[in-house]
């Protein structure tokens, strides 16, 4: 497989913001002469940042699942639900379609993101040349579904705002949803800090 020349080989570096192509001077703190944003061949410390954020997201993901996210009060009957118990309840109470959607959005997607990002990071760090195109596709998928996984947070926010009938029915958010939102946000940040070009850098190259 022929190796295509990279910007580094040509002594070029492109600005990430205004897309101005500059000479690569290999200075550690170079900035774009046009827009002033930082210039680097790859996103700076991409591995470190992505790993850090991914781990942080994982830490938040545990309480997000263990703690209840929502309290529904109907006629004095108080019901606290975690994500998983909510899914089970939906399934048991005859809405398997909704249960599948919530399960996918709240459990499958975040877990998938952890695995996908972890896979991308590890494979890229090892300079693996395995399935580079597919890994690129995976990255795009992760980016794409990132903002859909806020579904739970939206549901809780909407219900809390809408269902306020005092004694008859009431919905209030519980701490779990905060951790879930943090998880989603931080995984999005993690996928943003990952530089997909690292996939193609290979073994002989590192930032």
């Amino acid at each position: 497989m022929t190796r295509l020349p990279r910007a580094r080989d040509l002594g070029l570096v492109g600005c990430h913001v205004c897309r101005l192509v500059c000479r690569d001077v290999e200075a550690p703190n170079a900035a774009c002469p046009r827009c002033g944003s930082a210039l680097h061949r790859r996103k700076s410390a991409s591995y470190t940042k992505t790993w850090a954020l991914l781990i942080a997201a994982f830490f938040f993901y545990i309480p997000a699942n263990v703690l209840p996210i929502m309290r529904t009060v109907s006629l004095g009957d108080v019901d606290d639900n975690t994500i998983l118990s909510g899914v089970i309840e939906l399934w048991v109470k005859g809405s398997p379609d909704l249960a599948v959607i919530v399960f996918t959005a709240s459990i499958v997607v975040p877990v998938l993101k952890f695995f996908a990002l972890g896979l991308l990071l590890i494979s890229s760090q090892r300079g693996s040349r395995w399935a580079q195109r597919q890994r690129g596709k995976l990255y795009r998928l992760v980016e794409f579904i990132g903002y859909w996984s806020m579904l739970d947070v939206f549901v809780v926010a909407l219900l809390t705002a809408l269902v306020q009938f005092g004694f008859f029915s009431e919905v209030e958010p519980l701490p779990g949803v905060v951790f879930f939102g943090l998880t989603v946000v931080i995984t999005m940040l993690a996928s943003m800090t990952f530089d997909p070009r690292l996939i193609w850098d290979g073994r002989d190259f590192d930032d």
């Binding site: 000479r23 703190n29 046009r34 210039l39 006629l75 004095g76």
Partner: protein, 561 residues
């Protein structure tokens, strides 16, 4: 190609160099913070977690794992985590995770019960659990001894621990309509409630525990009387119909009332856990104390139709016991069926008489059962009689009375139970007397009396005939003679008869004589000397005097000396 490219780069702009930026490794702060947050949650949960206890209940009705809270004074102190069947499937075991602050509830004195909506005649409780579901109520005791296995109560305790007041025991024959939570009244104000009840160990009675709230517990004195205030007490007496109730609620749901007896009594406040007797009604409660019951037996030779168990036993009109058994016996010797009546009597109800008799018996060295005293009383004619209490219904009661004319009987004062000799009742006596009279009447020879009477009447008839024929004409003649005699007398008394005229002349003469006598006395009153000297010539009254001085002898003799 690379060379071309390299040349062209010279035209490209140079990047500017900026001051150094923040170290990228600071991004590791984010996972550190996340880890710290997670750790703090874990520590928080660990610190908050209290002991886990097991509570067994008869049924898991209303218990929802993960949801049912445990509350003390309406504050949530824990939550049911799991509910499972016991190994022998007789009850359920609820595992409860208590909060750290409720650690003291995992001690030996704690009690747990399920609060469900309870609707009774006494009121409605736990209505909030209708919608929110049941919860487990808790009450903590005084013990510090740790405990994790509890047996849940099936009904809420009516007295929470530490409530000021006192607990008392009441002994009763049966529970009546009382229940846990039934009110206790003092002067018709609710001051407490029934907190628990159980059968006595021997099964002969019920012991109730009541709790009287402070400060009203001071009104329970050592001589207080408790009675069952359930229902309506209707009594028909000489003073009319009396209806007595505590309150409408007690009529339906039952209750207990207490009060001190009237008259002088000890009024020391009762101690905690003192025992009292629960009477069936106020009248019995207020009666003087019964003292120890004594069993007596009586053997009646006559039928006791109308005598029922619970019929009163009276001593000289004072009710002091009741009949407890009526049994038929068979006497081989006389081939009769005597009735054996057992009765329970309370000698103390006789009051002073009893006290004096006891004192007397003691002084005379009698034994505990006063057998000598009883023997003496029987000698003096103490007998039991079945008397009719109500002529309409024919109900009988047992009267112990002194019948001096009663025939002497053999009496053993030491036998147990004491057998009181009996005498036929009044009514039986009357019956017997009537029977005697009838028997005597039957002996009267009415037939011969009738015959004799017939003969006598015939004789009489003959006599009368004789009278009619012989005597009556004679009588007629006699009457005619008498009539003639009367006619003669009649003519003699006629106004124109000579007898009448003579009588008129004589009376006139007498009148004149009286007048001259008056003249004489008048003259003598004025001139008493005339008696000696005689009449003066110039006397004035002379012409006033009768012109004809009576020549009659009587006054003249009196006037002339």
């Amino acid at each position: 190609m690379t060379d071309d490219n390299k040349v062209s780069t010279d035209d490209l702009p140079e990047p500017v160099v900026q001051r150094p930026r923040i170290n990228a490794s600071l991004v590791w702060l984010v996972p550190v913070i996340a880890a710290l947050v997670g750790l703090s949650l874990v520590i928080h949960a660990w610190v908050q977690a209290g002991p886990t206890i097991d509570i067994s209940f008869q049924s898991a009705e209303g218990l929802d794992p993960g949801k049912t809270p445990v509350k003390y004074k309406s504050v949530v102190i824990g939550k049911v985590t799991t509910v499972r069947l016991s190994d022998d499937r007789t009850h359920v075991i609820a595992k409860v995770a208590l909060e750290k602050s409720a650690q003291s509830f995992a001690t030996a004195g704690s009690r747990f019960w399920v609060v469900r909506p309870r609707i009774g005649l006494g009121g409605v409780s736990g209505i909030d659990t209708l919608l929110s579901g049941a919860f487990i109520g808790a009450d903590v005791g005084q013990s510090q001894e740790p405990k994790t296995d509890f047996t849940g109560l099936e009904s809420p305790p009516s007295v929470t621990h530490g409530a000021p007041g006192k607990t008392f025991d009441l002994h009763s024959d049966d529970l009546g309509s009382l229940d846990i939570g039934s009110p206790v009244y003092y002067r018709r104000i609710q001051v407490g409630r029934v907190s628990s009840y159980h059968l006595n160990k021997d099964g002969k009675g019920v012991t109730l525990q009541i709790f009287i709230d402070a400060p009203n517990d001071q009104f329970v004195t050592t001589s207080s009387r408790f009675w069952n205030a359930s229902g309506i007490d209707v009594s028909l007496g000489a003073d009319g119909l009396k209806v007595n109730t505590q309150s409408l609620a007690t009529v339906l749901a039952g209750g207990v009332a207490f009060q001190d007896p009237p008259g002088p009594h000890e009024s020391r406040p009762a101690q905690e856990n003192d025992a009292f007797t629960l009477f069936n009604d106020r009248t019995t409660a207020m009666a003087p104390p019964d003292g120890e019951p004594k069993y007596i037996r009586m053997r009646f030779e006559q039928s006791l139709r109308g005598l029922a168990v619970d019929a009163p036993v009276e001593f000289l009109g004072v009710p002091f016991g009741r009949v407890v058994s009526i049994n038929l016996d068979f006497d081989e010797k006389t081939q009769t069926f005597p009735t054996v009546v057992g009765a329970v009597v309370y000698p103390q109800r006789l009051g002073k008489a009893h006290d004096k008799l006891v004192a007397l018996a003691r002084a005379q060295g009698d034994d505990e059962q006063m057998s000598q005293m009883m023997s003496r009383l029987v000698e003096h004619g103490l007998r039991a009689q079945a008397r009719s209490g109500n002529l309409l219904t024919g109900q009988l009661y047992i009267a112990l009375d002194f019948l001096p004319k009663a025939p002497a009987v053999a009496f053993d004062g030491t036998s147990r139970p004491l057998e009181i000799p009996t005498a036929p009742g009044d009514f039986d006596k009357i019956q017997q007397q009537v029977a005697d009279i009838v028997g005597k009447l039957q002996k009267v020879p009415f037939d011969s009396i009738g015959n004799n009477l017939n003969d006598s009447l015939a004789e009489l008839s003959r006599t009368l005939k004789q009278v009619n024929t012989g005597v009556l004409p004679e009588v007629t003649h006699t009457l005619q003679g008498a009539q003639q005699t009367l006619g003669t007398a009649n003519s003699a008394f006629a106004p124109d008869s000579p007898l009448q005229q003579n009588l008129g002349g004589t009376l006139q003469e007498l009148q004149r004589a009286a007048r001259s006598l008056r003249v004489l006395t008048d003259y003598l009153g004025a001139h008493p000397d005339a008696l000696l000297r005689g009449r003066r010539a110039d006397d004035k009254p002379a012409p006033q005097a009768t012109p004809l001085p009576p020549p009659s002898s009587a006054p003249a003799q009196g006037s002339k000396p």
